[in-house]
């Protein structure tokens, strides 16, 4: 009762007390939250930074091309030469209904002509991807995994990706193939 009276008589003291209390609570909560969060950092090696595609899960649906926040998607086609069969009739290079096996655009799978083909020796051909042309549509990946060894696959290029907090492609990926990976395994390579 006495204290109540005193408080009533001195609103300044009361306000000061409340302010000190508030400061203490706020300071304490900062310490507590950072303490809890710091304990979550323990396995820093596993901490995940980058978005990356798991080629085993990818269904090459084509949304990588259209849904990235960049004008030209950060997703590019990678080629695992050590998996490739070096076939003449390549399911990733030629369309399945190609009339002739030549470099005419209507026979080629890639809409931007990003796959280059080079004769190695009979009957083998080497295929390389020109990343500056690739738009990540995944048509060749579909062809290669349907008819070939599956050596063509999609990956997010680290130097192009803007590392959005929420990857826009991951949100629409039908097979949840895009997840965060750690800093020391920035790519999920096939070879």
């Amino acid at each position: 009762m006495e204290q109540k009276k005193e408080n009533k008589n001195s609103p300044i003291a009361r306000r000061k007390f409340l302010r000190v209390l508030g400061t203490a609570v706020a300071g304490g909560s900062i310490l507590a939250v950072s303490g809890v969060l710091a304990s979550r950092l323990k396995n820093e090696k596993e901490a995940s930074y980058y978005w990356q595609i798991d080629p085993q899960k990818c269904t090459h649906c084509g949304r990588c091309e259209t849904d990235c926040v960049l004008q030209v998607s950060a997703v590019k086609c990678f080629h695992a030469n050590k998996v490739c069969g070096y076939c003449d009739l390549c399911g990733g290079y030629f369309r399945s209904n190609a009339k002739e096996l030549n470099t005419a655009a209507e026979n080629l799978m890639c809409p931007t002509g990003a796959i280059q083909r080079k004769f190695v020796e009979d009957p083998y051909f080497e295929y390389t991807i020109d990343e500056s042309l690739c738009n990540g549509c995944g048509k060749c990946v579909k062809g290669c995994s349907s008819f070939g060894n599956g050596s063509l696959y999609l990956q997010i290029k680290r130097d192009l990706c803007t590392d959005c907090n929420e990857c826009k492609i991951a949100r629409v990926c039908p097979s949840d193939a895009i997840t965060r990976v750690s800093m020391d395994t920035a790519y999920k390579l096939k070879d």
Binding site: R19, G22, T23, A26, G27, I30, V33, S34, V36, L37, A38, R40, L41, E44, E46, A47, S48, Y49, Q56, K57, T59, C61, R63, V69, L70, F78, H79, N81, K82, V83, G85, Y86, C87, V120, E121, Y124, E126, T128, S145, S146, F147, G148, N149, G150, K157, R158, D159, T162, D163, C164, N165, E166, R171, P174, S175, R180, M183, A186, Y187, L189
Partner: protein
């Protein structure tokens, strides 16, 4: 997944597999620069606002921040979005929180606790951009700012709700300025950003005041900060100039009992609001809980579950890409149902909490409007003040003290 239909070729011409190197930028270095700049710029702003009381350095900091955090780093990682990562890390211990995100979250909070919202002043590229385009400060009516002032809290609550249920990071998704910094992106959001910037030319920082969820969080800490911004050491002469100059209505005028209301009536109304407080909380919790299944549609698992159920009902339909992937990967419906039920249970719990918090926000706003103040002179509201330092050059008392030593009126 078809693999190795064709054997590895045996090359006879001595062909060697080409060496392909995929670029990995030195992100660790960039992150280190980010953190260093964040601390350095906040330090400069704190010094300029608390010690030096001048605006010049803050404008320079704003320019650096817009250039580096905005256009060079393209707005990610940002403190505003980090709220979601932190909330997810706090509720879900399988989520690995990167150290940089933790620092980006906690450092501005710490600075707010020490020196007020110095992060907002010019270190945040969003605030800095709005600050730099501002040319005129038209005051908005108090009724409007009060109602809109609740929006950041609602936005924060919704962002946390969707973050902890692993549904979506809505702060990142509906970010109005990122498209401007990236010079491209979702056209709708860029339009919103441009509209906000045009508004920011004529009234102070509309995004910070009426949308920014992180600013709402910082305002709690800045209102109890240890070192506070002080306009002048000399007595206030109630000239009103600082109040007119403030872009965010953070300088409150002396309290005038315009309504000529009797004290008893005021106290009664306040008491009514305190009775209303638990009712509003309950109401909010109940309302949000009742729409929890609608809100859960934002979650991918829930959408997939709905699609699968629909497909199971009429199997004749053409498979969508999602369903193709679901059946193609041999996922079991039982597993999906389990995940679906988990998400639904999470949503039930978290929407209830979110609703209660929303009720609390409304109640506290109502109470804040009815509390009688005893201000005799112009005072800074430290929760709202973003430390832009405009007011200093307007205060005649401060000017006199600064220019000719010790003349006192």
């Amino acid at each position: 997944m078809a693999q190795n239909r064709f054997p590895k070729p045996d090359f006879e011409s001595g062909y060697k597999y080409p060496e392909i190197h995929h670029a990995i930028p030195n992100e660790e270095l960039l992150v280190a620069i980010d953190i260093f700049l964040l601390v350095a710029l906040m330090g400069i702003v704190s010094w300029a606002v608390i010690k030096k009381r001048t605006r010049g350095p803050i404008l320079w900091v704003s320019v650096i921040s817009v250039a580096y955090f905005g256009f060079f780093r393209k707005g990610c990682v940002c403190s505003i979005g980090s709220v979601q990562n932190v909330a997810l890390a706090l509720t879900d211990n399988t989520y690995a929180l990167p150290l940089s995100v933790l620092l980006f979250f906690i450092l501005p909070v710490l600075f707010a606790f020490l020196f007020g919202r110095v992060f907002c002043a010019g270190v945040c590229p969003f605030g800095a951009l709005q600050e730099l385009v501002n040319i005129k400060n038209y005051k908005l009516p108090k009724a409007l700012t009060t109602v809109l002032g609740m929006m950041p809290w609602f936005y924060l609550i919704f962002a946390l709700l969707y973050a902890v249920t692993r549904s979506s990071f809505i702060i990142c998704r509906f970010d109005p300025f990122i498209g401007i910094f990236r010079l491209g992106g979702d056209i709708g959001m860029i339009t919103c950003g441009v509209i906000l910037l045009i508004m920011a030319m004529f009234t102070g920082r509309p995004f910070c005041r009426f949308f920014c969820p992180y600013g709402a969080l910082l305002s709690i800490f800045s209102s109890v900060s240890i070192w506070k911004i002080k306009l002048t050491d000399k007595p206030c002469i109630n000239c009103e100039l600082c109040h007119n100059a403030c872009p965010v209505d953070a300088i409150r005028p002396p309290y005038a009992n315009k309504a000529k209301e009797s004290r008893l009536r005021g106290v009664k109304r306040l008491l009514n609001y305190f009775v209303l407080l638990p009712l509003l909380i309950l109401c909010g919790a109940f309302l949000m809980r009742s729409v929890s299944s609608e809100l859960s549609r934002a979650n991918k698992e829930v959408r997939l579950y709905d699609m699968v159920m629909q497909h199971e009902a009429n199997p004749g339909d053409v498979l969508s890409l999602e369903l193709e992937a679901f059946y193609g990967q041999g996922d079991s419906i039982e597993g999906l149902t389990q995940r679906y039920e988990k998400v639904q249970a999470d949503f039930k719990l978290y929407t209830t909490i979110a609703g209660a918090l929303m009720g609390l926000v409304v109640a506290i706003t109502l109470i804040g409007l009815s509390v009688k103040r005893t201000r005799k002179q112009y005072e800074i509201d430290h929760a709202a003040c973003v430390g832009c330092a405009r007011c200093f050059s307007y205060c005649p008392q401060y000017k006199i003290g600064n220019e000719s030593g010790n003349i006192a009126l």
